[in-house]
């Protein structure tokens, strides 16, 4: 078995092990912390699809994370206040059903990514970074001023949304749900990375002229990658809001975009499991360093600097070695 594969499995076993151990020793807070890492991992896997595989440095993925969060918040808010979302042209009610919320989050995030991507992918490099950032900031200020859903204060949801057959208020069961979604996302992304689409997208990242010369249009490849990327990060946003039972404009903020990018860079850009390692490391640092000082981000910054300067491949580059070309 390849070293990378061993590390992948060890990583998943570690996450699962910590959650089970926390359950056995009655430490619900630790389960919540682990769930947070899992959700961040999903968000990072989403961004990595655009950033790592497509070379699209999006500094605006908070747009999708926040949208997913607000989909959950708004639907659940209408359900808990028994007010309809729309009355005309047809009656749409809120919902407390997780599967429905996930589906709507994925759908709306895809549409948003299609719109943002269609415009911003006409640029590249630093302009692309700035335009994606600008879109996310627009949504951030929109959320702040949207008084109907709490404005700056955000929305609190009293009871976590439901999943058929599970008690989602039980930390371990909610963890299991998020962990299962992470596995599904990782499986789909691994398949996509080795598919025809993955080959063409990776080639476009390396050399656009080559892709055009074999009759393909890089723009289309990028746009599809961006939509998939946004959809995954949107799903993570819905889960994150459900974890906290709270959604606020902070989910749309540029700091959130930055954090998602940190998961990817810490773990290893372009490595399928990279963001999982990155998110786990991030939570670990947040927990350990956060205990030392309220200004723990200074240490995080130093570590990030170290990774960027000395370990380009992130954690995965260090442990699993250079990426081997797909067979």
């Amino acid at each position: 078995m390849k070293r990378e594969m061993v590390f992948n499995l060890a990583l998943l076993a570690l996450i699962l092990g910590v959650a089970l151990w926390a359950q056995a020793s009655d430490e619900p807070f630790l389960i919540t912390l682990t769930t947070r890492a899992v959700i961040f991992a999903i968000a990072g896997v989403g961004l990595n699809f655009a950033l790592g595989f497509g070379g699209l440095v999006s500094f605006g993925h908070a747009a999708f994370f926040g949208l997913g969060g607000y989909v959950m918040g708004v639907l659940a808010y209408h359900a808990q206040t028994y007010t309809p979302l729309f009355e005309a042209p047809l009656l749409i009610q809120g919902t407390k059903s997780m599967p429905v919320i996930w589906l709507v989050s994925i759908l709306l995030s895809s549409l948003l990514a299609l719109a943002i991507g269609a415009l911003s992918l006409r640029t590249s490099g630093v302009y692309f970074i700035m335009i994606t950032l600008a879109f996310a900031q627009m949504l951030y200020y929109f959320a702040i001023s949207w008084a109907a859903y709490g404005g700056e204060d955000g929305l609190s949801i009293y009871v976590r949304n439901g999943f058929p057959g599970l008690n989602t208020m039980d930390p371990l069961q909610f963890f299991a749900l998020c962990f299962a979604l992470l596995l599904i996302v990782l499986l789909l992304v691994s398949l996509a990375a080795r598919s025809a689409f993955g080959l063409a997208l990776g080639a476009a990242r390396q050399n656009e002229a080559r892709v055009q010369a074999v009759g393909q249009t890089p723009y289309r490849l990028y746009l599809v990658a961006f939509v998939i990327s946004g959809a995954i990060t949107g799903l993570a946003g819905a889960l994150f809001a459900d974890l906290n039972r709270f959604v606020s404009p902070v989910m749309f903020s540029w700091q959130t975009s930055g954090e998602i990018m940190v998961f990817v860079i810490l773990g290893g850009v372009g490595r399928i499991f990279g963001p999982v390692a990155g998110a786990v490391l991030f939570i670990l640092l947040e927990h350990l360093l956060g205990g030392l000082s309220a200004y723990w981000h200074i240490y995080l910054g130093a570590i990030l600097l170290g990774v960027v300067l000395f370990a380009r491949g992130g954690l995965y580059g260090l442990i699993a070695g250079r990426e081997v070309a797909h067979d």
Binding site: A196, F197, L199, V211, Q212, V214, G215, E323, A325
Partner: protein, 251 residues
């Protein structure tokens, strides 16, 4: 006379006061290698870009297989059967040799928007890719990372990727550039066999290769074609000697 596959009619491209292409007409017929030579800055690469797409002429038309492709994108022209190699190797350097060839086969076949099946297990694509690698003599290097290939091997791989497209014509922008004599002899042999697959428009500085390969030669100087003819005609053309070949002797 056989109908030309590629027919360039009165193509003009100006950059400010400089006419990089000045009313150029040129064609490519089945089975031939048509070499385009000229000193540096004569506008050879500008012309290739207008033929392959990526640069729109100010006036004039590019007809490919009887169809006006002047307004089409690079990708669309490649789909129609223009197999291009670049002056500076344009390959996916992190990929293996085989992956680059499969990319070509995939691009030509279509169906890039498939997300679930592993592309490197697609028997049809692999067969097409391996046949092309075999033809340029890279079969034994298929598992090697492209960035680890020698310069000459990269040039061969460019040709192989173009081959996977089963193109109607080849557009080759200085394929011999930077090759030693051994490398350029090997590539000359490959191109010689290739003309039976599809005609080649060959932009080249290496005169040994041009004289060995070309059925016809066109000479481009300051954006204008000053002569077109057989190897013997071009060798003996006084204007060409003065404008181009003579310069080389002095240098």
């Amino acid at each position: 006379m056989t109908e030309p596959i590629l027919d360039i009619r009165g193509v003009t491209k100006r950059f400010g006061a400089l006419a990089a292409s000045d009313d150029i007409s040129l064609d490519l017929r089945p089975g031939e290698i048509h070499a385009l030579i000229g000193p540096n800055g004569a506008g050879k690469s500008t012309l290739i870009q207008q033929i392959a797409g990526g640069l729109a002429p100010d006036s004039g038309r590019v007809l490919f297989d009887g169809r006006d492709v002047t307004a089409l994108s690079t990708a669309a022209r490649a789909q129609l059967g223009m197999g291009r190699t670049f002056q500076i190797s344009a390959l996916a350097m992190d990929y293996t040799v085989l992956q680059n060839a499969v990319l070509g086969a995939l691009g030509a076949r279509g169906g890039v928007f498939r997300f679930f099946r592993p592309v490197m297990r697609d028997a049809a694509l692999l067969a097409r890719a391996r046949a092309a690698l075999d033809e340029v003599g890279l079969a034994e290097f298929e598992a090697m990372r492209t960035s680890e290939l020698s310069h000459g091997q990269r040039r061969q791989l460019e040709v192989a990727v173009a081959l996977t497209l089963a193109p109607r014509i080849f557009l080759m922008d200085e394929p011999m550039a930077g090759l030693g004599s051994e490398g350029s002899q090997r590539l000359t042999g490959i191109l010689d066999r290739l003309r039976r697959r599809a005609p080649i428009l060959l932009v080249e500085h290496d005169m040994d290769a041009v004289f060995a390969l070309a059925d016809r030669i066109s000479v481009l100087v300051y954006g204008q074609i000053i002569a077109t003819g057989s190897v013997a005609e071009i060798r003996s053309d006084a204007e060409v000697r003065r404008a181009y070949l003579g310069e080389e002797d002095e240098a």
